[in-house]
Symmetry: C2
Subunit: 299 residues, 2 copies
Amino acid sequence: MSEADLIAALRSLPLHPAARGLVDDTAVLGDLVLTTDLIVEGIHFLAEDAPEDVAWKLLAVNLSDLAAKGAAPEGVLLGHPLAPDADWDRAFLAGLDAALRHFACPLLGGDTVSVPSGAPRTFALTALGRSARAPARSGARPGDSLWVTGTMGDAGAGLAIARGEAGPATLLARYRRPEPRMAEGATLAPHVHAMMDVSDGLLIDARRMAEASGLAVTVDLATIPLSAGYVAHRGDTRESRLAAATAGDDYELLFALPGDPQPPVPAARVGSFAPGAGLVLTDGGEAVPLPVQLGFQHG
Amino acid sequence: MSEADLIAALRSLPLHPAARGLVDDTAVLGDLVLTTDLIVEGIHFLAEDAPEDVAWKLLAVNLSDLAAKGAAPEGVLLGHPLAPDADWDRAFLAGLDAALRHFACPLLGGDTVSVPSGAPRTFALTALGRSARAPARSGARPGDSLWVTGTMGDAGAGLAIARGEAGPATLLARYRRPEPRMAEGATLAPHVHAMMDVSDGLLIDARRMAEASGLAVTVDLATIPLSAGYVAHRGDTRESRLAAATAGDDYELLFALPGDPQPPVPAARVGSFAPGAGLVLTDGGEAVPLPVQLGFQHG
């Protein structure tokens, strides 16, 4: 069963109104925002990754979903496998301790389970947050501009470096220690028509926002924000911009704002919404073909 | 790292007051009750188990934690692996659909993830409930009686039958389709001093309640409720009573009530609390040695 088939099947189950039709990454129940994510060894992290980094990432990817709803973290529930390697577990928990303190996000509870020997490590995290106004992914309107915080592609380049490519430590750190945009999300939430985090790639996530909103979206490659480190490493070409726009793990915020005003946080305007459907890609205003892969697909 | 070491390490992390020191199976945040459980193929269910039964059990074991807090289900968040076997997934989701409807518990959200080929299936479920008064595990007082709903040992006998032993379908069903005591939990919650579900075995869970309450507990084997089906299958001997008192997966409610009055739901009085520490086992009032294994340990 493909991920799309599975999600379609999940949407046919009895859904809570707070599930928002499973279009969003989070459930919104009154002022509570809830999200759950699994991370699996060999898929979302590498067996040789430092356990402290795995713990950081587990928390950061969940908090990024909260940030996209303007939510402050309330706490997390952890599902933890009992591995035969006690040193790994100790390092993971030390990393989790540091990450929980960094994000001021206490542990609410959890479950520890045995796993068959040789099974890949699988961690589950459920994060709860509070938001006075949680924007949906589906609220973009025709004429809205599409904005993104930070820079794109750094974590994707960092993944290649983690896999052995030569490259700077700053890009590697963007992959290993993503910083979810908690403050920016809280500032943006009352103003945006729609917001989500960029976890799988700018192009695929922009298309998801357009689809959820029943609109077409145009993204201009020339406007995609790149870091100086990324440009020094990969160059500033159409190819490197396409790579940046389709790489995963950025954990920046993607949001729709009406008209032209600058948003209340640093961000780049990368596109616009119009009636219709689908994603149009341009480069300095000139239409360019869509790449085969719009983003990173975990499968 | 043993489960006890891991839980001790988790308790040293920054904890939310709602975590109640991780002594309980649930977090209690205002009127919200939260619990998370992982189930792993080869540990919590068998590869040859029907996917519909796995889905039922995943939901039932989480709802049993809510029942022990007197909580009505609000909804669940599901972490689902993408398996190569689409038929299995379809059957699992059909079973989940039926179980969600049975328990009037809608889906709030979830996450679907790829897993490396050959990895055991791991499902994560987080359940939310609402309870006006969620009793703790730690509230038993000296002089309280210890009560349990239903009958003990049926699911343990059912597990042996699932593994190939000859035996009646009624016991097998108790293992495959546990019925969490939602109504009983809601009725009991305002009256009990302490409550938890029996998931790992009556003796180990009674000792956990005593330990959390800072008390000693005595359990009398002769008073442990057995079903007619269990007695017909295993007999009514000290050995069969010990097996019933140490088998897992019963998902009945264990609770402490002051003095002698009958509880407001059908239940058996199986013991009593006193100042001190530890578990004392008797059989018709005569002290008997504790078995080596007080319950089912997943790891």
